[in-house]
Amino acid sequence: MTKLLEVKNLTMEFGGVVALKEVNLHVSAGEIAALIGPNGAGKTTVFNVVTGYYQPTKGDVSLNSQSVLGLKPNKIARLGLARTFQNIRLFGDMTALENVMTGADARNKVGLIGSIFGTSTSRQDEKLSHSRAAELLTFMGISHRSGQLARNLPYGDQRRLEIARALALEPKVLLLDEPAAGFNPQEKVELGELIKKIRDAGFAVLLIEHDMSLVMKISDRVSVLDFGQKIAEGTPSEIQSNQKVIDAYLGVVDNAS
């Protein structure tokens, strides 16, 4: 069990306000790790730091035991860290296929000059991106949408498309930010299966999710954030029986759901 993504005592402050404090996390190969916690606990902040959008105040983030601190998000992404967004953020005026191809391009070498003169590598790369994107759309079960503009897709398919786009980067770790938000129970079940499928396809997954039933069903390991601090970590069953967590969190959710 090699640790792919490792976050060491991460602290993040915004103008004196502490968003994360001494947080330690890791995601190992082939597992689905979940990150849960009440609203404003700092879950999404973790994603934003890990993906290089924010520079942490203290602490270290390493991918494949090599630090990615200070790298630009696009570099980190190409090193193997892809994410989705709480509020779907697709390239609305591009077709579904193009959305995914944009992700797939990150794996390609060819630059601008090559594209102008249509060198053989560039043509190969284009084919590659295209076929990979097509595969992924099929894998996510939305191949019939490939020609449509992302913004015209139904909600569920937009969620799936976002995941497909992220997978196109062939990440080592896939970060999912509340993928089940707005899904009905039936869809949630399907999504659960899908995420498992993704894991089995060889992608480690870090999952932020509010829906406990889903989290507990699919994740191998759960970490709990509260007020920017990790208060617990363990298997779903451990977490469910953890008093601190129940106090801080589960109670709240039960009322909510």
Binding site: K72, A82, F91, D93, M101, L112, E126
Partner: protein, 352 residues
């Protein structure tokens, strides 16, 4: 107004054409392309009352403003339309190109063919120098910086010795003959054809890039720069490329322009030019190259056609822009609203 709108929304040229285009056979398409290009090359001979410009020489109008602004619009479209970078100083690149040929051509006898390339190159360099710092900014900050850049280039040209200061440069040489076509001040046709060829080269390049990786990267940046970055797009690099390529096109166009008008002054390169080019891009339909070309041609042709209104022509022109934008906010031929069709079996795209 509203009735106008309903009427206009009914006549949707590009969809009906697009439909025809998609069902057209390879042969039909080739014929269409050839016919179209042929028509463009023949335009100077079609100076008749219907399309001609009564008050000004039609052939010369075809070159400037028409062809010149079409090229610039295509160039700026890469920046504004495709990548969503608001550039209000595009004239700077045009000026750099023009002065490159004016200075090197007039005083050092370098011929136009080389100067087109040099002009483009210098414009690219300028693009990098401005772009590296400026492209870190967004939206209107970038707009004002580029605007400033445009003015600076003009002011510098106005104050330097070798650019002839306010008097500008006269007697700029035309290029040597090619396949016994003579480039002559009195005959704008060859320069028009030259600019047309340059345009087609640019369009070809644009199409190449547009449907490949860079095109996707640019669109992604336009749609959502952060997400593009998260998806592994080197946003800074591609923004710079868009900026620099746009600049290169402006520079090349400038060199050809200088060679045709044979004398240039700093006050040919005011902010108004930048604004007009931007207007062309948006008027035609940002990001859709055919729209941009049509828009630019129309927007430059109308004032000449309207010259018989002499006094009031810009007035009416301005009014037209407001009305037009209100009727069709996304321009004459908006960016691909039309969704592509893919072959069920191969998954290959059928359209385009």
């Amino acid at each position: 107004m509203s009735s106008y709108k309903t009427v206009l929304s009914k006549i949707n040229l590009r969809d009906s054409f697009g439909a025809w285009w998609e069902n057209a056979t390879k042969r039909q398409r080739i014929i269409f392309r050839v016919a179209l290009i042929g028509l463009f090359y023949a335009l100077p001979f079609l100076d008749n009352p219907i399309i001609g410009t009564p008050e000004t020489n039609f052939q010369s109008v075809l070159f400037y403003p028409l062809a010149v602004f079409v090229v610039m619009a295509v160039g700026l479209n890469i920046v504004v339309g495709k990548s969503g970078i608001l550039d209000l100083g595009y004239v700077a690149f045009f000026a750099i190109g023009a002065y490159t040929h004016a200075v090197l051509g007039t005083f050092y006898g370098v011929n136009l063919w080389i100067n087109i390339i040099l002009g483009a190159a210098f414009a690219m360099v300028a693009g990098v120098i401005l772009g590296l710092p400026a492209l870190r900014l967004r939206g209107d900050y970038l707009a004002i910086i580029t605007l400033g850049f445009g003015e600076i280039v003009r002011i510098v040209a106005l104050n330097l010795e070798f650019t002839g200061g306010a008097a500008g440069i006269q007697g700029i040489p035309a290029p040597p003959n090619i396949f016994n076509v003579t480039f002559d001040v009195l005959d704008p046709k060859p320069h028009y054809w030259l600019m047309l060829t340059f345009t087609m080269l640019v369009v070809w390049m644009y199409m190449r890039l547009g449907k490949r990786r860079p095109g996707r990267a640019w669109e992604a940046i336009r749609e959502d720069e952060d997400v593009a970055e998260f998806m592994g797009v080197e946003t800074t690099k591609y923004k710079l490329w868009a900026f620099v390529l746009g600049g290169a096109i402006g520079g090349g166009a400038g060199a050809i322009y200088a060679s045709q008008v044979a004398s240039i002054l700093p006050d040919y390169f005011t902010l108004n030019v930048s604004i007009l080019v931007l207007a062309c891009v948006v008027f035609g339909g940002m990001g859709n190259i055919w729209g941009v070309i049509a828009g630019a041609a129309l927007l430059q042709y109308l004032p000449e056609k309207l010259r018989f209104l002499s006094e009031t022509r810009i007035l009416i022109f301005g009014l037209l822009m407001v009305v037009m934008m209100n009727i069709r906010p996304d321009g004459l031929f908006p960016r691909k609203k039309r969704e592509k069709v893919y072959d069920k079996v191969t998954g290959q795209e059928i359209s385009r």
